[in-house]
């Protein structure tokens, strides 16, 4: 390994008795591209905050450029060339590219007056240093996410960054943009600048990193060279569990008549000319990057986004999906993309969250709520999907991500749907829960439910669907059967689009 830039020795940190980090060692060499992976709550964020000097470790020391810090302050960290780019990038959307890049520099120099020419010069120089070009006077909010990242990187470089830490940089960008980011990183590497990625997307981790450090429950599991890892071993290291994922095979035992048929569905600005059929027992995967129109299409099918033209047939009947109530009455359910805001009533009890879709079943003959029945129903569903709850009265926000998602799934299964649309069902969920949710979905399909699963993770789609539709810029560009390709082929196909 090259010369060490950063070394973390025996670092521990506890919050209210919970050990967030337990005796962690890690080192990053000059010019190295390093990846830090771990599930939610594994201590990744705490570790980054310690490196940035924002959080003080209880024990251990941090050595940067050979200097030992026992009490690292944020300003020390910055002076030593450590720059953190958080997930939201912390840019000023209403300011120009040039201003965003140069502003920190001016603040550090405590300038009171602004020299516009100087602002542009600084920004131009920094961009040309990494051989990239962006219109300097464009407002940052109009840039693509990849270019926004570039602006954030330039802003970091201007402060003599030697190590750039990027928190979940690939969550919102497309394959092509990831490649672009990677090429920028390689340029940085040539200049001896190191990068530390924090990510939970395993396939991308393997694509980008040279070395990978895995954290689990605050402990370091190990350092690995990216060459010696593959998706399954990495997910094993992260979760500590051998995840058995059985591939889904569709059997045509529930009839061949499509339960859902979409013909030439279009909505201006969202999607165009979408046609497909869903048969009972099928799981169709819709894969495409953020902004490809995948969620808008799902919303249209659920009556929340009125299409401009095209037809939707349920069991051969032409229907107008003008409200979620209509969609539900036709046997549709929709697990929304944003579990916290669209799926759950966070402050309401588990019980209330569960019965919200089936209230009509809980009324007695005077049309009044039967609270005993409500309790029984809620209890039954909590047991059926093994949702781990402190009590039925606990607020939904007290549950872990996996349990919250099972709660939303349960609330829909209670309506006894025929067609279930799941939008990004396992985002931000630990691997064991993820697998459990996948198994639930596959079991539902085997029982004859028609399922549409939307995701931007190729392995998730490949391993759980029998048919895949690739959606780019509002159109379905490819439709294929999972059995006809390998996971790598799917991955390549997505990269080339």
């Amino acid at each position: 390994m090259a010369e060490e830039l950063l070394k973390i020795q025996n670092v521990s940190k506890s919050y209210a008795g919970v050990r967030a980090l337990d005796n962690v060692n890690m080192s990053i060499g000059k010019g190295e591209v390093h990846c830090l992976v771990g599930e939610n709550g594994s201590g990744k964020s705490t570790l980054i905050k310690i490196i940035a000097g924002v959080v003080k470790p209880d024990e251990g020391e941090i050595i940067i450029n050979g200097k030992t810090f026992r009490n690292l302050r944020p300003i020390d960290s910055i002076n030593e060339g450590i720059q953190v780019i958080y997930q939201d990038l912390s840019l000023f959307p209403n300011l120009s590219v040039a201003e965003n890049i140069s502003l920190n520099q001016l603040i550090v120099e405590k300038r009171r007056l602004i020299n516009w020419k100087e602002i542009k010069d600084i920004a131009k120089k920094e961009l040309s240093n990494i051989n990239r070009e962006i219109n300097l006077s464009e407002r940052v909010e109009n840039l693509s996410i990849a270019n926004k990242q570039l602006v954030a990187i330039c802003r970091a470089l201007i402060q003599n960054a030697k190590l750039i830490i990027m928190d979940e940089p690939t969550t919102a960008i497309t394959k092509r943009e990831i490649d672009y980011l990677l090429s920028v990183i390689l340029d940085l590497k040539k200049r001896g600048i190191s990068t530390l990625f924090v990510s939970h997307k395993l396939s991308e981790v393997l694509q980008i990193a040279e070395r990978v450090t895995v954290l689990r429950d605050g402990k370091k599991i190990g350092d690995y060279s990216a060459d010696e890892l593959d998706y399954d071993t990495l997910s094993f290291y992260m979760s500590g569990k051998e995840v058995v994922s059985s591939p889904f095979s569709y059997e045509e035992k529930h009839g061949r008549k499509p339960m859902l048929e979409v013909k030439n569905l279009s909505k201006k600005g969202d999607f165009k000319d979408i046609s497909f059929k869903l048969k009972p027992g099928e799981i169709i995967g819709v894969i495409g990057p953020l902004g490809s129109g995948r969620t808008e299409l799902a919303l249209s099918l659920f009556g929340l986004n009125k299409p401009d033209s095209g037809e939707i047939y349920i069991n051969g009947q032409l229907v107008r999906m003008d409200s979620p109530q209509k969609a539900i009455s036709l046997g549709l359910s929709y697990l929304p993309e944003d579990r916290l805001h669209q799926g759950l009533f966070l402050r309401q009890s588990v019980q209330n969250n569960l019965v919200v879709t089936i209230l009509k079943k809980l009324l007695n003959k005077f049309k009044l709520l039967d609270h005993n029945k409500k309790y029984k129903y809620a209890k039954e569903w909590v047991n059926r999907l093994s949702i781990n709850v402190p009590s039925l009265e606990a607020a939904a926000q007290a549950l872990s991500g996996g349990n919250q998602q099972r709660l939303v799934i349960a609330k829909w299964l209670a309506t006894d749907p025929k067609i279930f649309i799941l939008d990004s069902p396992t985002v931000g969920i630990d691997i064991a829960s993820k697998n459990n949710i996948h198994n639930i979905i596959k079991q539902l399909a085997r029982e004859g439910m028609g399922i549409i699963m939307i995701s931007d993770e190729a392995p998730e789609i490949f391993r759980n669907c029998n048919r895949i539709m690739v959606m780019i810029d509002g159109s379905i560009v490819r439709e294929l059967n999972t059995v006809d390709i390998t996971e790598d082929e799917l991955f390549d196909m997505l990269s080339s689009n």
Partner: protein, 334 residues
């Protein structure tokens, strides 16, 4: 668990405060507070602003507010008064009995209040106007219409039997109090035992999730504001009967008090939380203070200052108590 515990302690705290206020008033105003006449006057005032407070609570539970309740009460009261005095449908008084006139007047008032609520509900649910602006606008419109109709003068002189509603007693319990208790029980039933009530709370705690769950948000909102208007109409009938007159602007002091009682009673102004028992305790507590201030001959202006200060104080306390209850949660996440 924690949430429930806090919710329950909140009602208990409120109850203890109410008892405290009662004891303080009894001790420091001997021979004035603990009198039958004082209790009678208290129980005749509680129903009026109590019903208005319930009306505002309903809107608050959806995350909105209804500033127009007093104006609705005024307009409905004017409508009823026009029939009661024979200015509208004078033929009713002729061949038909007095009772029929009274029934028609009450129904007319309630229909007006439902229509006013419908206007609010339409603006908020379909035009998606912020509730505070929509009802501020309609507040001005409804009371404006009432003033135009009456040219600003009061209408007085209602049939004798109509006055029973506001002044009569059954087994020496004032009639308004009986009506109020009945209305509170009905509202408790609506909120806790009907699907409308359940959906109202869900909509209030997260309107996006309720829409995604197939709840008809617009329908719920329209019905909520209509119900709110309806309770304002009921308040107006009691009010005009008690004072045997109506003049636009009656009860305008109740608006601040009704909002204060809601917040005091634990209704979350951002929606989704609050129950009728907390509200009722808040109403009684405010009335105890109110009559104490009356006995001490506080001017209406100084009372206004006190109510305003109380409203701010309750919100400051809410802020600190909620940041206390959030603290352990933050630690858990780490």
């Amino acid at each position: 668990m924690l949430g429930k515990y806090l919710k329950e302690t909140r009602t208990t705290t409120l109850f203890i405060l109410m008892v405290g206020a009662f004891v303080v008033m009894s001790v420091f105003l001997p021979g004035k507070f603990l009198t039958l006449s004082n209790f009678q006057s208290m129980s005749s005032q509680i129903p009026e602003f109590g019903l208005l407070a319930i009306a505002i609570m309903l809107a608050m539970l959806t995350g909105g507010i209804d500033l127009s309740v007093i104006s609705i009460a005024n307009l409905a009261g004017v409508g009823a008064a026009l029939i009661l005095t024979g200015s509208l449908f004078p033929q009713l008084g002729g061949g038909y009995g007095e009772i029929l006139v009274i029934i028609v007047a009450i129904l007319f008032a309630l229909v007006i209040s439902l229509l006013c609520g419908l206007v609010n509900g339409f603006l908020i649910a379909y035009i998606e106007a912020p509730a505070i602006l929509a009802t501020l606008g309609t507040m001005s419109i409804f009371s404006g219409i009432a003033i135009v109709i009456t040219r600003g003068y009061g209408i007085t002189g209602f049939p004798e039997s109509f006055l029973f509603i506001g002044n009569g007693t059954i087994f020496s319990i004032p009639m308004p109090l009986i009506i109020f208790i009945f209305c509170v029980l009905i509202m408790a039933l609506i909120l806790n035992k009907t699907s409308f009530g359940f959906n109202l709370y869900m909509l209030g705690s997260n309107p996006i999730a309720s829409r995604f769950s197939g709840i008809n948000n617009r329908g719920i909102l329209v019905r909520t504001y209509m119900l709110s208007g309806f309770y304002a109409g009921l308040a107006s009938i009691i009010m005009i009967s008690r004072v045997n007159s109506i003049r636009p602007g009656y009860g305008s002091a109740y608006l601040l008090q009704a909002i204060l009682v809601c917040v005091l009673g634990g209704v979350d102004p951002s929606g989704g939380y609050g129950n009728i028992s907390g509200l009722v305790i808040g109403i009684i507590m405010l009335q105890i203070l109110q009559s104490g201030f009356n006995i001490l001959a506080f001017s209406p202006f100084s009372k206004n200052v006190i109510w305003g200060l109380m409203l701010i104080l309750v919100m400051v306390l809410n802020f600190y108590s909620s940041s206390f209850s959030k603290r352990p949660k933050k630690l858990k996440i780490q």
